[in-house]
Symmetry: C2
């Protein structure tokens, strides 16, 4: 029989978002010894169900403390954690963890969100923990961190501190336009291969380099199909390039892409699409895995909160 | 008994779009003597059903010729009429009417669409007939004609000729964002009163005057609600102002709003919203009723085609 690694677990780290729940059992060094995931995101749960869902997921793990980040700290989550106003670093996040004890006596903490409280107001929940993981890995990095997704975030990070950030509904707009708008009749194909298509590069160039407004690029997708018989897979790539290219142009207009380095936090095809789009816009970038960073951030906060003992080195 | 005016009918004029069908019986002067409407837009009809639907609608009207404009001339319509490339005036439209005879021997004509065949490709079907009606009413007008709606069109009209035009999916984007996106949790209220709200004017100013990119304005609507408790009716007005203001900015960037006059073709609250947004952007405008212009355009084309006798004056 293999050794029961879960017996060595010291902390449960949880990334609990709108549509997904992911939990890791960690040893004293912060290394995962077991992992679980489910579709019990907060969108499908009612008030009061969160503890039950959590205890069911962790039923065969030891009764150790847990730390949670993401929408679980929103008004629709388990308990509402505050939004800390920028600038925010590890010290502010650690100091404002929301502590609670479950009905079974388990010690838990929820990571607060971060807000921009002036100008273009903005909020994040979950991404701050990934950023903290990035800071743990690259303590000296200053520059732009892009977290692509349904609600894509551009973060200005300065030596461990989130100075400001901006959110774009790019992923959600792409979904709505490709699946619910009249453009759905003009597009088809797999999202995986979009970044390598000619239509993607051309649309990024039009929006991010030549300044074509986002709204000006949409209807011509349909018109080119009617008049020129353009290919539906190329059309989907054009739509993707328009949304990502317009996001880059909008972030640049807001000063969100400056002279320093750029790190993309994400996985697979979406991170690749952003890396290629940034390259067309004249920016190099580096991609780091979002799950690993979330885990690193949770471990760092758990240690600061005394939920996981400090180790040497 | 009142006189049976429909006995004096000489022509049936039809505006047949994606979702609606509207028909007028006209006398020899082109004046409506009867009117019918239904929800049998081409989106719900199958190939071969159009004649049946039409004859049912016109069953108690005399067997006179008919002229039709709109999506009825598309590939999904009754018969596909061509797209004429810009520049296009009354002469080109008249010369390219698609003639057909129904199985019951009724003479009919379908108005062709208009296309932009270079640069940002574009197409219209139906609006060209309203423009022709406008030309009949204002033969000397040169300037910008805006036809707001699901797919809003900006037309450069020069002494009776459509020089070029550009389509924006503004209305459809507003619907998708307010009803299908996560912003639906932050907005509510009636569309009628939007233009008089402070959020509308502020959002138009940000986008159309100060150059805020469309994508930058969306997420802050949600963030302001979470952080400041902003009012849901104001948020809907903000979303409307963002989409219309960004459309004005995009049209201006494309040269679509120049030094001459501006006419809005539309009705009620939507036309009013565009008029107020244009005023904030520093442009005067005048609004004309779209149904009346469509009817005028159809009469003019019918006379040119010999479907309705020319009258004096």
């Amino acid at each position: 029989m293999p050794p029961d690694l879960s017996a060595t677990g010291e902390l449960i780290a949880v990334d609990w978002g709108t549509s997904r729940l992911r939990a890791w059992l960690l040893d004293i060094d912060g290394k995962p010894v077991a992992e679980k995931a489910s579709d019990d995101g907060i969108a499908r749960l009612k008030q009061g169900e969160h503890e039950t869902v959590f205890e069911r997921l962790a039923a065969d793990w030891p009764k150790v403390p847990a730390i949670m980040a993401g929408m679980i700290g929103s008004r629709q989550g388990w308990r509402e954690a505050t939004y800390l106003p920028c600038p925010v670093g590890a010290a502010e996040l650690s100091a404002s963890l929301l502590r609670l004890e479950t009905s079974r006596g388990r010690a838990m903490a929820i990571v607060p969100g971060v807000a921009v409280n002036s100008g273009e107001y903005d909020v994040m929940r979950g991404e701050e923990t990934q950023i903290l993981g990035l800071v743990a890995e690259r303590p000296d990095f200053s520059g732009t961190v892009i977290l692509p997704g349904t609600h894509s975030k551009w973060v200005r990070l300065d030596a461990g501190t989130i100075q400001s950030f901006q959110t774009f509904m790019t992923g959600e707009l792409f979904e709505l336009l490709s699946q619910k708008s009249f453009l759905r009749h003009s597009v088809s194909g797999s999202v995986e291969e979009l970044p390598s298509r000619a239509g993607f590069a051309a649309a990024v160039r039009r929006t991010a380099v030549e300044g074509l407004p986002f709204l000006s690029g949409l209807f011509p997708i349909r018109a080119r199909q009617l008049l020129l018989g353009s290919d539906a897979a190329e059309n989907l790539a054009t739509l993707s390039g328009l949304t990502i290219g317009a996001e880059i142009a909008a972030a640049r207009a807001a000063g969100g892409i400056a002279g320093e380095g750029t790190i993309i936090v994400g996985a697979r095809s979406l991170a690749r699409a952003y890396a290629e789009a940034l390259a067309i816009a004249g920016r190099g970038s580096e991609t780091l895995d979002g799950n690993e960073l979330a885990l690193k951030g949770l471990v760092r906060l758990a240690r600061a909160a005394g939920l996981l003992p400090e180790t040497k080195g």
